[in-house]
């Protein structure tokens, strides 16, 4: 039994980004999707009319958009992996989803029906469409997967945990493959209002100048046992090395205030390795980012810092998976997107400079950080597949 877990497929739905090519395209890296979403918060959003991607209109009526995004992204990931589900054991395929908010687009509409018309006007699908595990259920139904599956809710850490957990379970031999990632919809009045308060609670009083930007979408990876992937001749993007998680309880509406926790997660996952590239949490909240910068300066001061989300904003439940997708592409192509913003000098997480990529040799390790409200912190290490 091979205990290595590898990434063999990537699928995504993000603002103005519906394919790996859209994500990786050098020109797109300089094109920000950020705009004012309300007078008090900036970010990016997915167009309201998007391709149904083969989802029947009957099913669409039952689903919030965060589940629709997840179904589209997982189908794209399966297609990218070239995995034929008729030729694998579906009892040994699982689904791991990160999500932070559930289905508020659907819910807001139904709450308006409830208060404006009455209880009988509320859709019978209200509960099942809002439920944060709805994407997991719909993905397993759509693809007939019956292996161990799970949904994780941990703010921006959610899909870093879903990927790390899926990899652990494959490594233990309980699954051959997994669809792992995250999905989120923030394009609703309720969620935006809640997020404005998060920024205020964490010390960014002027929301107009805060770097706390919000986004939405869905990113999923196909993870496989390496032997399973090799046996079917799959292309391998990267290897999932390890996930480290620590919890330093803080106020439920605030992030941790101490860099020691993050330093420990980074050191724990790196062991004796160096990180060639680091994709920081970079929340856009000043206090939190200063703490992360202190940790990065101490643990991997020479690592290149990339912020794929600078084009979109925080994608919360999909955040870790977006960063893992980006890391997988870098490790596979062995190059940085030419126009991607990169920083060598440890001056700021939020003011990137252009990298001198000619000075950089091979990219062997990418470290991804994330943290969540309440004090949980995590680091995921992806490495080049040898």
């Amino acid at each position: 039994m091979d205990h290595d877990v590898v990434v063999t497929g990537i699928g995504l739905v993000l603002p103005k980004t519906q394919s790996i090519e859209d994500l990786w395209d050098c020109k797109n890296q300089t094109m920000s999707c950020i705009e004012a979403l309300s007078p008090r918060i900036c970010g990016s959003q997915i167009e309201k009319v998007m391709p149904s991607g083969g989802i029947s209109s009957r099913l669409l009526k039952k689903l919030d958009v965060f589940t629709q995004y997840a179904l589209l992204a997982t189908q794209a990931a399966l297609d990218d992996a070239g995995i034929n589900l008729n030729e694998v054991n579906r009892e040994r395929g699982g689904v791991f989803v990160g999500n932070s908010f559930g289905g508020w687009r659907f819910t807001e509409n139904e709450l308006r029906n409830l208060h404006g018309i009455g209880p009988r006007a509320v859709s019978p699908f209200q509960a099942t469409s809002w439920f944060p595990a709805a994407p997991q259920g719909q993905i397993t139904i759509a693809h007939g997967l019956k292996g161990y599956s799970k949904t994780y809710m941990a703010d921006r850490l959610s899909s870093l945990i879903s990927i790390g957990s899926a990899a652990n379970i494959i490594r233990r031999g309980e699954l051959d493959f997994a669809i792992a990632g995250g999905t989120e919809s923030t394009n609703t009045d309720f969620v935006r209002t809640a997020l404005e308060h998060i920024a205020l609670e964490n010390g960014d009083e002027n929301l107009e100048t805060s770097g706390f930007e919000i986004s939405e979408g869905s990113v999923f990876l196909i993870l496989e046992n390496k032997s399973h992937a090799k046996a079917r001749g799959a292309r391998i993007y990267a290897r999932v090395d390890a996930l480290s998680l620590l919890n330093s309880p803080s106020h439920p509406n605030q992030y941790g205030r101490d860099s020691s926790v993050l330093k420990n997660t980074m050191r724990c996952v790196l062991e004796n390795k160096n990180a060639d590239i680091i994709i920081p949490d970079a929340s856009g909240l000043r206090k939190i980012d200063n703490i992360e910068q202190t940790a990065i300066d101490a643990v991997c001061p020479n690592a290149i810092r990339l912020r794929p989300k600078q084009r979109y904003g925080n994608t919360f439940g999909a955040e870790g998976a977006l960063n893992a997708a980006f890391a997988s592409l870098i490790l596979h192509h062995q190059k940085l997107p030419q126009m991607s913003s990169v920083e060598h000098e440890p001056s700021s997480l939020s003011t990137p400079k252009t990298a001198k990529t000619s000075e950089i040799g091979s990219f062997d390790t990418v470290l991804i950080n994330a943290c969540s409200l309440g004090g949980a912190t995590g680091s995921l290490l992806l490495t080049k597949e040898m």
Binding site: S57, R58, K62, R120, S123, P124, F125, T128
Partner: protein, 87 residues
């Protein structure tokens, strides 16, 4: 709204067809809701609520859980309407 059982069956079939986005002629009174149309219990609630709106009568008290066909559902609604008339 006064309706005989035949008209009620036609209304139920039309509402199911609208929900499924198909032609009413493709659904018979005897078509099996779950086995043939794959309508689950949550979808059936939506169909009952749509029928309620069309009739302008509350159907909260009908027992639709044993309805296997549009005819069964129409019959149960009709029974409820008749009871309502007596009251």
């Amino acid at each position: 709204m006064k309706m005989d059982l035949g008209e009620l069956e036609t209304l139920v079939v039309k509402i199911i067809a609208t929900y499924l986005e198909c032609e009413p002629t493709s659904i018979q009174n005897s078509t099996l809701l779950e086995k043939e149309l794959e309508i689950d219990s949550t979808e059936l609630i939506g169909i009952v609520v749509e029928t309620e709106r069309a009739l302008g009568v509350s159907l909260k008290k009908i027992n639709y859980t044993k309805a296997e066909t549009p005819a069964d559902l129409a019959s149960e609604i009709n029974r409820h309407l008749l009871v309502g008339e007596v009251v």
